[in-house]
């Protein structure tokens, strides 16, 4: 068996491989570009960006958990205008591939306005709409946990951009396929799942929650089976490309996520423990494919359903 073809496509966007550092664990690429050539990556998803600059939640924002971590950053970011002005030109210097722009928002209008601005940013090939951050509160409205609200955001951003729109879904719902269907019906080009699971820790000494925000989002290997099951369910429910995300920490996990139905795979918390992990996974994927007898990695997508 010869060379393995690692290329995949996401709603018409070609990726040289399915490995994508996940939003919130990769900033705007600067920190990792100092460590390795980012051009080995299929794409990367930048930090969730909102209309206005945000400081985020008070510290502590991080807590350890068995096989994972909680974060309650609260979408700290410099705001869409500063990102377009200062980060986008830098990204062009450090990365040649497609960038996935993760977009946050607190109103339907804010999501749409951010996407309208990003429509003009050539290197952003996919807009990933974060309707699932567990650490911010949009005036009591949770777009990701309500099918009607999720559809409303989807339709609003769909109208203002020619770029593929991927809705990033929360696992903190009773039926993720209901939200997935609502997004699909409203015009989403793809889905990204899952965001973090809502959790908490309590400090035994102080008898207070460890996180100042009280709760945070659980990520890391602990959530991999949950993410895998949800990707499986959503793959059965809708005909849209899926970016699988949640607890992925190895090339084998990437293959498993693709077998469940993902067309590409995001790697999040594991980058924080091992900053070179995504590079290593890309380097290991051909061997994993050979072991599985796969010449084209894209052929793994959904293969476990057959």
């Amino acid at each position: 068996m010869g060379d393995v073809n690692l290329s995949v496509t996401l709603a018409g966007v070609a990726l040289k491989n399915p490995v994508i550092p996940a939003s919130g664990t990769f900033g705007y690429g600067r920190e990792y570009a100092a460590l390795y050539d980012l051009n080995i990556l299929g794409a990367f998803s930048w930090k969730g960006t909102t209309a206005r600059p945000r400081d985020g939640n008070p510290p502590p924002r991080i807590a350890e958990t068995p096989a994972g971590m909680l974060n309650a950053i609260g979408l700290q970011n410099p705001g869409i205008d500063a990102v377009i002005r200062e980060e986008v030109p830098n990204i062009a210097r450090i990365f040649d591939g497609p960038v996935i722009a993760n977009v946050g928002g607190f109103t339907v209008e804010e999501y749409a306005e951010n996407c309208r601005k990003l429509d003009a940013v050539e290197q952003c090939k996919i807009l990933e709409i974060n309707i699932s951050c567990p650490n911010v509160h949009a005036g009591g409205r949770n777009f990701g946990t309500d099918a009607k609200a999720a559809a409303e955001v989807t339709a609003a951003v769909r109208r203002v951009t020619r770029k593929p729109v991927f809705m990033k879904l929360t696992p903190n719902v009773s039926d993720i396929t209901e939200i997935a269907r609502a997004c699909a019906d409203a015009g989403a080009d793809g889905l990204c799942l899952i965001n973090t699971l809502l959790g908490m820790r309590i400090d035994l000494k102080t008898r207070r929650p460890v996180l100042a925000n009280r709760t945070g989002g659980l990520s890391g290997p602990a959530i991999f089976p949950v993410a895998l099951r949800m990707v499986w369910d959503v793959y059965e429910a809708v005909r849209l490309p899926i970016i699988g995300c949640g607890g992925v920490a190895s090339a084998e996990d990437v293959a498993e996520m693709m077998l469940a139905g993902a067309s590409a795979v995001e790697i999040g918390a594991a980058n924080l423990r091992d900053p070179y992990l995504c590079k290593r996974i890309v380097e290991e994927l051909p061997d994993v494919c050979r072991r599985l007898g796969v010449e084209n990695i894209a052929g793994l997508t959904g293969a476990a359903h057959e």
């Binding site: 919130g24 400081d55 924002r61 991080i62």
Partner: protein, 244 residues
Amino acid sequence: MKQSAFTLERVRPLSVDTVELRFSGDTSDITAPGQFVNLALPGRFLRRPVSVCDWTPGELTLLVRIAGAGTRELADSPPGTAFDVLSGLGNGFTLSGIAPEDVILAGGGIGIAPLYGLAKALSRRGIRPVAALGFRSRADVFYLDEFRAVCDTVLVATEDENGLVTDILRQHPSRRYVYCCGPLPMLRAVYELPHLTGGQYSFEARMGCGFGACMGCSMPFRGGWRRICTDGPVFAREEIVWET
């Protein structure tokens, strides 16, 4: 920043909850006292950020307070154990531009660790500093002999005997420039001493990554929120604001 394996060579108990760990490994990315390393522990997801106490080419010394199960496992590791370490993290203390007769080092508890490396670096430049070291009680005191070897004077404050580090600093009002590391309430109490006109303060925080990617350790500073891990951990007096 460099990711490499460090081998634990020696564990020396210093007090009831503090150990000195000596490692062999590649220290070439460590460039200033006050920097930290981020150490991966088997079976624990998050790395443990630890201040560099001392380093030479090929050797690294860390002081660790046993605060939970992870640091307990680290302290109980047998010599020969290899750890995955990110080294050369953070900015570290700046040594230039200070008047030696103004300087005092102020450390609290495990926060004295980076001040040892700083005192050693200063003494190599012919400045033997005055150090004020604070501990909870007499039984918690550690590393005095090591500090005495590189300092002009080592002053000790214990809460059960003679009070706090701030009491010592007040007794030396001509020492107006402080290098400070300790728990947050101590940093603030030192900062608020009226006779201090300048200084560098090393902050600690819960970190997700330690290299600037996750924004987990951000705190408010003058001009906006900054990351303890990459914009610090050492901040100049002028950069600090205290949220009330």
